[in-house]
Amino acid sequence: MNTSPIVLLIQKIIKKGWLGKTFLALITLLAIWQIIVALQANPSLFLQQVINGLQLGFVYALIALGYTMVYGIVRLINFAHGDVFMFGAFVSFYSITRFQLHTWPQWLFPSIPHGLGLIIGAITVMAISMIACALLAIVVERIAYKPLRSAPRISALITAIGISFFLEYFAALNFVFSPNFITYKRPVEVVTWAIGLNGITTLGNGKAPPDGTILFSNIALIIILTSVLLMFGLQFIVKKTRIGKAMRSVAYDKQTARLMGINTDAIISTTFAIGAALAGAAGMLYAIAFPQIFFWMGIIPGLKSFVAAVLGGIGSIPGAFIGALIMGQAEVLSAAYISTPLRDAIAFSILIVVLLVRPTGIFGEPEREKA
């Protein structure tokens, strides 16, 4: 049959899926173009936004790890995770304001240097909220998820949504956390540095930063350092310890792991507890960065971290981390350069586009056969 070159070309375009790819490439190019224009217009502002995005991204990463670990091990989207995050923020708030726990080193050892005392105090508060969140997660897991382990997956999802509602609205009761916005009292003072080409200056109160500098606060430093430390800790637990080994084997094949003498129920509880502890730490860090807490604060960060986990490939720990950083950048950069009201829409569009290109996320394994 005689086919003209145009028909051949059209056939080739169709076979290779070029139409769709061009469409995606156009969208991506538009985004990259926006970023380049922004970078050229004001490099220091752009870098500033990137730092803000990093700060947000690291908090999201901590929450996303909980989602991804729980999903990896029981295939459950734990919608209550965001509320565990809220709980962590509130526990740290009460241990700071009600019990002044961040000042305990000063009480016991009045001669301790101020900075060291603050650091130890803040770490104690964080540890308390992590432990409280872990306990909460274990209780929730025992009550709501364990009885449904043999039921259809969707039943557990619905109970997760139920638990999420319960935690939110129970927290909103007057004698619990009250339905109001509460101003968070930071355990540390905010120190802002202006980093420019001429060196670093410390900004005092109300002093305008010099031109062409990037503001970097100790809050961002704390968030990034703590998150990195916690993530290394998690990596250590998962990769080097017996519990981590058991977790990986349960995630791979629950039945066989049980046959090998692993107490799968205990391992699942541990996974929930570790994820919740990370969320508790994230709750405190988030409250330090954005010092206002209320009973619904867990929903949106929880959702975004969950999306981050999906973006990176749910079930994969480095994936959750990378996905969270992307989400943080997407949110901050699109708020700064594209449209503030549309920033969440853009973040979710990125998710959809990434899923179209890589259906199981950036680091996700191809889906295994349904068991």
Binding site: L157, F165, F170, V310, P341, D344, S349, I352, L356, G361
Partner: protein
């Protein structure tokens, strides 16, 4: 014809009519006040969305969290049509919407026939083609619609006002639902190839994007009357018990007939085992799209009805947290059970909106959403497969395919043997 007047059909239609008559009498005699009337109508609306979702998730196995987005699209589209008729005295909304949906709908159907013969066309390319065509045709419809809308307005004004209002209302609801269906087609085309949970997240993202767009509907989308995050007011309150029941019965019957046809069996086979279904020669993508579009059509229908209950729409109604409500209802009622879904939808509306609002003791009003999840948890723990499980009333029960059907009966007018 025998099938139409079978015992179960008569029983179903009779009892539906009886329930409607009793409720209508109670409402007319004001034994049920407008509060309970609203709750019953909301229950019906939720039943329609949930049947749509049950078709997608319960029968086709696609974990969609995006029904609320289509519900929102249907609600706002229908509200815009009736609002323009009521306030601006102009049928332009109706004409443009009808033209746009019809033009792009037929174009999509026509293209689908053409494109199905092209081998190796990936969903993303197909999506690009459809998107381009839809946008061009919608622009064309906009231009044409504004041209002929004065004529239509004059024509409608010749009718009695109440009749014209009903016409505008019903066409707004139906065409709003068609908009939702077409958007779901465009969106579902590339997305439905994703795995189950990833599909769920993508649809959740979709409903969030829709909510954000509605928040900025006056500035970004340019619909001044939707008033963005301030909420749309002044929508005529046209949704009566009658319309809710008519649409609910229609949706139930359509779903039931679909599921009894060979299309329906193909839809269910996709849920049971995709690979086996593919091996039997079933075009999985086709049936996923079919269920998804029909389910979203129902969601849009319900949205249109919802918009005209209170006469007020706010983007927060379409928050993603609420998008779990239909999911909760179908799991509550039993996945893959239409009667369970209808029952659960009404029970959900009665308990959450009615009983928990009215009968909580003094000082415990804020406990409504504390009691509700506890009820949810207890139900889930006691009956993990839903209240009804997979029980169906006889009318909705599926007929098992008669395996040894001889070739003589093929091609006759048997409604069970519609061939795709």
């Amino acid at each position: 014809m025998k099938n139409i007047f079978s015992k179960s059909t008569l029983w179903f239609l009779g009892s539906a009519f009886l329930i409607y008559a009793v409720l209508q009498i109670l409402v007319s005699a004001e034994i049920l006040n407008s509060f309970w009337n609203t709750i019953i109508r909301i229950g019906g609306v939720m039943a329609i969305v949930s049947i749509g979702l049950n078709l997608i998730y319960g029968f086709n196995g696609q974990f969609s969290l995006g029904q609320w987005g289509f519900y929102a699209i249907g609600a706002y589209a229908a509200a815009d049509v009736t609002y323009r008729w009521q306030i601006n005295k102009s049928a332009d909304g109706m004409v443009v919407l009808a033209l746009a949906t019809l033009l792009s709908g037929f174009a999509i159907l026509w293209l689908r026939k053409r494109l199905s013969t092209v081998r190796g066309l990936d969903p993303l390319s197909a999506f690009t083609i459809y998107l381009a065509v839809t946008i061009i045709l919608s622009a064309l419809a906009w231009w044409l619609g504004t041209l002929i809308s004065p004529t239509v307005t004059n024509g409608l004004n010749l009718l009695p006002a109440a009749v014209a209002m009903q016409i505008v209302f019903v066409s707004g609801v139906v065409f709003g639902a068609v908009v939702a269906a077409e958007i779901s087609f465009l969106f579902g085309l590339p997305i439905l190839s994703l795995g189950s949970d990833y599909f769920g997240i993508a649809t959740l993202g979709f409903s969030i994007i829709i909510k954000i767009l509605l928040d900025n509907s006056d500035t970004l989308l340019g619909f001044q009357e939707m008033k963005g995050a301030r909420g749309m007011v002044g929508i005529p309150k046209e949704t009566s018990l009658f319309w809710v029941f008519i649409f609910l019965v229609l949706v139930v019957v359509i779903t039931r007939n679909l599921l009894r046809s060979s299309y329906g069996r193909a839809v269910i086979s996709v849920r049971e085992d995709e690979i086996a279904a593919k091996a039997m020669g079933i075009d999985i993508a086709e049936y996923k799209i079919l269920a998804f579009v029909l389910g979203s059509f129902f969601a849009g229908l319900a949205g249109g009805l919802y918009a005209h209950i209170n006469g007020f729409l706010h983007p927060n109604t379409f928050n993603f947290i609420k998008s779990f409500d239909p999911m909760i209802i179908i799991v509550f009622g039993g996945l893959g059970s239409i009667s369970g879904t209808v029952f659960a939808a009404f029970a959900w509306a009665l308990i959450l909106e009615g009983v928990l609002r009215l009968f909580l003791p003094q000082g415990f009003e804020t406990w409504r959403f504390v009691v509700y999840p506890i009820l949810l948890l207890i139900t889930m723990l006691l009956r993990p497969k839903g209240i009804f499980g997979d029980y169906e009333i006889p009318f909705l029960r599926q007929v098992l395919p008669k395996i040894r059907k001889t070739s003589e009966t093929k091609g006759t007018d048997s409604p069970l043997e519609a061939h795709p």
